[in-house]
Symmetry: C2
Subunit: 98 residues, 2 copies
Amino acid sequence: MGVTKEDTYTPRQSKLAQWYKALGHPARIAIVEQLLRSNCCICKDFTSEIDLAQPTISRHLQELKSAGIICGTIEGASVSYCINPRYRKRLRELITEN
Amino acid sequence: MGVTKEDTYTPRQSKLAQWYKALGHPARIAIVEQLLRSNCCICKDFTSEIDLAQPTISRHLQELKSAGIICGTIEGASVSYCINPRYRKRLRELITEN
DNA sequence: ATTATTTATAGTAATATTGCTATATATCTA
DNA sequence: TAGATATATAGCAATATTACTATAAATAAT
């Protein structure tokens, strides 16, 4: 049904799955890679690197944010995104390895 | 459109995303965890641990298999599944960590 | 040979995801 | 203030995912 029986699993299993699901799209991998290189980017920076419409990029950014993978801070008219420092090292391994 | 613009990304980005997507469901996390504990399981072993119908488990197993995460070998009337030895260590880190 | 056991596939229905265009909102700049 | 810039949201359409029941297929057991 496209709906996951959430209460079947431990919170840890659900959390892990949510984390990896957030990384389960090439656009989001590309975003994380760009952030690992550039440290901080505004939304527009991604739209010039990744061939997707701006609202689509924005949506992927929201998904990474709600998974706790990235943080966004308003900076004037733009929003500055960066890797959640807590997961920076781990993400570098996840993306770099293999 | 629920369809990913695959040619926008590098093969590496697509491959990474595919790998993490396969881990992006709690049932598949549960399956991998069980295999990390038990080394080898037949399909029926999973159905008695995870509260999902047998065909649903079977489908999740196929997805893990096509991502290269697990291997299945026919053994009489049943199929013996195990972690792809090539990724065993890596998966233990991915599942255990955090 | 018939029945039981084990697994996969077919078919279906509900929900989720991805991506677009149009537009709202908020801040800068002239 | 008026226009430009940057981002998010609304709304829509197409496809993907998840899970079910029913059933096929293949081996094991009686």
